[in-house]
C-alpha cells in the first residue's frame, strides 16, 4: 500500500467517516481511538474533544436562546397586560374593554344574545381628591373597583376608563339580569368608605346600554355614556337605561351648538325689548333686552332653548358680547331720536361666566363711551346665585362696574339660595322678584302677605324692587298697594322690536 494514500491504517477511514458524520450535524458522533496512542489516535481524540465542545456550545446556545425567547415572551405578555390594564386598580382599561365588547358583539351575534355596557361616573370624587388629597382619592378608586368586581359575574369585565369613570361589560345576560347587576353595582356604592380616620361616600351615576345586536362597541359606549349623563342630570346616584330619544337630544344639542356659533355673524340673532314700568305712574322707565334666535329653518327660538347650551360650550361669552354691543348701540339710537328721555334705562342680562371675562369692564365702559351713553343708563341683571357666591373675582368685577356708575340688579330673586343677611351687603341697586312669587297674588291672601314681606325686606335693605311677570291689572294694583315701585310683564307690554319702543313710551297709559 502507498502510505501517501493512507489506506494502510483503517483508523484513518474511521476518522474520515466520523468527520463526515460530524459535518452532517451529528454532533454526538465519536471515533473510537486505538490503544496505540500514536499521532492518529491523538488526531482522533482531538476531533472527539472538538466535537464534544461544539456539542456543548450548541446545547448552551440553544438553552440560552430558549431562555431569552421565554423571557421575551414573558415581557411581551407583561407589556400587553400593562397596555391593557389600569395600573392603579388592576382593572381592564379602555382598550381592553373595547376589545372585549367587540368580541362579545361577535359571539353575541352568533348566539343571539347582545352584550350590555354599564358606564359609571363617581358623583363626588373631585371633592374627595380636593379635600383629602390624591392618595386618599386613589384609595377610594381601589375600593370602588374592588366593590365593582365583587358584584359582577366572573365572566363580566370591569374597566376603569380614566379618572373617576368606570365601565362594566355584561355578557350572556338577559335584560332583567343586566338591570339586577346594575342595581347591585349601585347598592355596592351606597356604603361609606373608610380612608384612614376619614369616612367618605362616593355614589355613582350609572348609564346602561342594553340594545339588540347591530351596534358597534363605540356606539354602545357612547349610548351608555349618554345614559350616564342623563342619570347625573337627574340628580346623581341613579341608574339610567339608555333610550334612543336620548341620542336624538344629544345630536340636537350638538346641532344647535354648531349653528349657534355662526348665528350672530349671519344676522340670525335679534333683540326684543320689554318695557319696565313705574307702577305708580305707568311710565316706561326703561326696557329689558331679550335675545331671540331667528333660525332659517326652525323659526324663532326662545333663549330657554339655547342659553344653557351656550353656557356649557362657552359660546355665552360671544352671545353676551353681541347683546351688550347691540343693546347699547340701540340705546344710542333711541337717545338720538328722543333726547328728552334722559333717565330711560336699558337692562341687560349678564351670565355668571361673563363676570369672569377679563375684558368685561373695559368692554362695557368702551361701548358706553362709543355710543355716548351715561353709565347710569345701563343696568346689568345678574342672577342671585352669582351674587351670593361672593367669590373674589366676581366681587371685584361687580365693584368696578358699580364704581363706573353702571346699575346692578339681582335677577330671579326668590328662586335661588337667598340669604336675608346677605341681602343688605349685596353690591346691587335693585332686586327683581321672580314671577313665580306672584302667581296666586290675587286669590291667595297668604301669598299677598308673603310678597308684601319680601318687598318690605328689600326696602329695608335699601334696595328697590321690581316685580316681573305681571299679567293682570289686579296683580299690578296689589303690588302698587304694597309699595312696589317697578314692574314688568305682559300686562304692561310683551317684548317688542326696538322700532316699537318709542311709540310705547309716548303712549303713557298701561295697555289693556
Amino acid at each position: 500500500m502507498n502510505p501517501v494514500e493512507g489506506s494502510e491504517d483503517p483508523r484513518l477511514e474511521h476518522l474520515v467517516d466520523g468527520i463526515v458524520r460530524l459535518a452532517a450535524g451529528e454532533l454526538d458522533a465519536r471515533i473510537e481511538p486505538s490503544e496505540r496512542g500514536d499521532a492518529i489516535d491523538a488526531v482522533i481524540t482531538g476531533v472527539n474533544l472538538l466535537a464534544e465542545e461544539l456539542g456543548h456550545i450548541y446545547t448552551e446556545l440553544e438553552e440560552r436562546v430558549a431562555a431569552r425567547t421565554a423571557m421575551l415572551r414573558r415581557t411581551q405578555v407583561e407589556l400587553e397586560h400593562m397596555a391593557k390594564t389600569d395600573a392603579l386598580t388592576g382593572l381592564a382599561n379602555r382598550t381592553l374593554l373595547n376589545e372585549r365588547i367587540q368580541e362579545a358583539i361577535r359571539t353575541g351575534t352568533e348566539s343571539g344574545g347582545a352584550p350590555a355596557v354599564l358606564v359609571l361616573d363617581l358623583d363626588s370624587f373631585k371633592a374627595i381628591n380636593d379635600t383629602l388629597g390624591h392618595s386618599a382619592g386613589d384609595a377610594v378608586l381601589i375600593e370602588v373597583s374592588r366593590r365593582l368586581r365583587s358584584v359582577v359575574r366572573a365572566s363580566d369585565t370591569v374597566a376603569r376608563l380614566g379618572g373617576d369613570e368606570f365601565a362594566a361589560l355584561i355578557t350572556g345576560a338577559g335584560a332583567d339580569e343586566v338591570m339586577l347587576i346594575a342595581h347591585r353595582v349601585w347598592e355596592a356604592l351606597q356604603e361609606s368608605i373608610d380612608i384612614g380616620t376619614e369616612t367618605v361616600w362616593t355614589t355613582a351615576s350609572i348609564g346602561i346600554c342594553l340594545r339588540d345586536g347591530g351596534y358597534s362597541a363605540e356606539e354602545m359606549m357612547r349610548d351608555a355614556d349618554i345614559a350616564m349623563y342623563q342619570a347625573k342630570a337627574q340628580g346623581r346616584n341613579k341608574v339610567q337605561l339608555f333610550h334612543p330619544d336620548m341620542l336624538n337630544a344629544v345630536q340636537e344639542r350638538s346641532r344647535i351648538t354648531a349653528e349657534l356659533r355662526t348665528a350672530a355673524e349671519s344676522g340670525q340673532l335679534a333683540l326684543l325689548y320689554q318695557p319696565v314700568i313705574e307702577l305708580a305712574s305707568g311710565k316706561v322707565t326703561g326696557v329689558e333686552a331679550l335675545i331671540r334666535w331667528h333660525h332659517p329653518v326652525h323659526g324663532t327660538i326662545m333663549p330657554d332653548n339655547f342659553i344653557s347650551i351656550a353656557e356649557e360650550t362657552g359660546l355665552i361669552l360671544e352671545l353676551g358680547r353681541w347683546v351688550l354691543h347691540e343693546g347699547i348701540a340701540q340705546l344710542g339710537r333711541w337717545k338720538q331720536q328722543a333726547p328728552q328721555l334722559t333717565d330711560f334705562r336699558l337692562h341687560i342680562n349678564l351670565s355668571a361666566a361673563e363676570l369672569l371675562r377679563s375684558d368685561l369692564v373695559g368692554d362695557v365702559t368702551g361701548t358706553l363711551t362709543r355710543n355716548e351713553i351715561e353709565p347710569s343708563r345701563l343696568v346689568l341683571e345678574i342672577t342671585e346665585s352669582v351674587l351670593m357666591s361672593r367669590r373674589t373675582v366676581e366681587q371685584q368685577v361687580l365693584e368696578k362696574l358699580r364704581a363706573v356708575g353702571v346699575g346692578l340688579q339681582i335677577d330671579d330673586f326668590g328662586t335661588g339660595y337667598s340669604s336675608i343677611s346677605y341681602l343688605r351687603d349685596l353690591p346691587a341697586d335693585t332686586v327683581k322678584v321672580d314671577r313665580s312669587l306672584i302667581n296666586n297674588l290675587e286669590t291667595d291672601s297668604r301669598q299677598q302677605k308673603f310678597v308684601a314681606a319680601i318687598l318690605q325686606l328689600i326696602s329695608a335693605a335699601e334696595l328697590e324692587a321690581i316685580v316681573e311677570g305681571i299679567e293682570t291689572a289686579g296683580q299690578a294694583a296689589s303690588l302698587q298697594a304694597m309699595g312696589c315701585l317697578y314692574g314688568q310683564g305682559y300686562y304692561y307690554g310683551r317684548p317688542v322690536p326696538a322700532a316699537e319702543i318709542l311709540a310705547r313710551i309716548s303712549h303713557s297709559e298701561p295697555q289693556m
Partner: protein, 126 residues
C-alpha cells in the same frame, strides 16, 4: 518521611506526597476519567496536603479519555500550587492541551513529556 501512595476512590489512580514535597497523582494506564474520578482525586490531593499548597505532578500515563465534566473539576482551586501534566503519547498531549486551552486552571499548569523537565519546573519556584 515517606508516606505510601493512597488510592483514589474508584481505584483509577493514586496520590502520594513525596519526600521532595511534590504531590504525585498517578492515573492508571488506559483508563477513562469521569467526573467522579476527578472529584475523588482532588479530594485525595487536598487530604494529603492538609491545607498546605504543594506542587503537583500528574502522571497521565496514556489515559484513554477525560470527560468534559472531569476536566472542569480541575478548574476548581485545590491545594496544588502549580501542576505539571506529564504524558508520553501524542494523545496525552492533546488531552492535556485541551484542558489547558478550554478551561482556566486555578494555578500555573503546563504539559511535559519529560519527567525531569516537569520536576525541574515544579521545583524551580520553591
Amino acid at each position: 518521611m515517606v508516606v505510601a501512595p493512597e488510592t483514589v476512590d474508584g481505584g483509577k489512580g493514586s496520590v502520594e506526597l513525596r519526600d521532595d514535597g511534590v504531590v504525585h497523582l498517578r492515573w492508571l494506564s488506559g483508563i477513562s476519567i469521569e467526573v467522579e474520578d476527578a472529584k475523588a482525586a482532588m479530594a485525595k490531593v487536598n487530604e494529603v496536603c492538609q491545607g498546605v499548597p504543594h506542587p503537583m505532578l500528574v502522571d497521565m500515563a496514556a489515559v484513554a479519555s477525560v470527560s468534559r465534566e472531569a476536566r472542569g473539576i480541575w478548574s476548581i482551586p485545590c491545594d496544588a500550587s502549580r501542576i505539571a501534566l506529564l504524558g508520553r503519547s501524542p494523545v496525552d498531549r492533546v488531552l492535556a492541551n485541551f484542558f489547558l486551552g478550554v478551561h482556566v486552571p486555578p494555578c500555573p499548569t503546563r504539559f511535559f513529556n519529560s519527567r525531569s523537565e516537569a520536576t525541574d519546573w515544579l521545583n524551580a519556584v520553591r
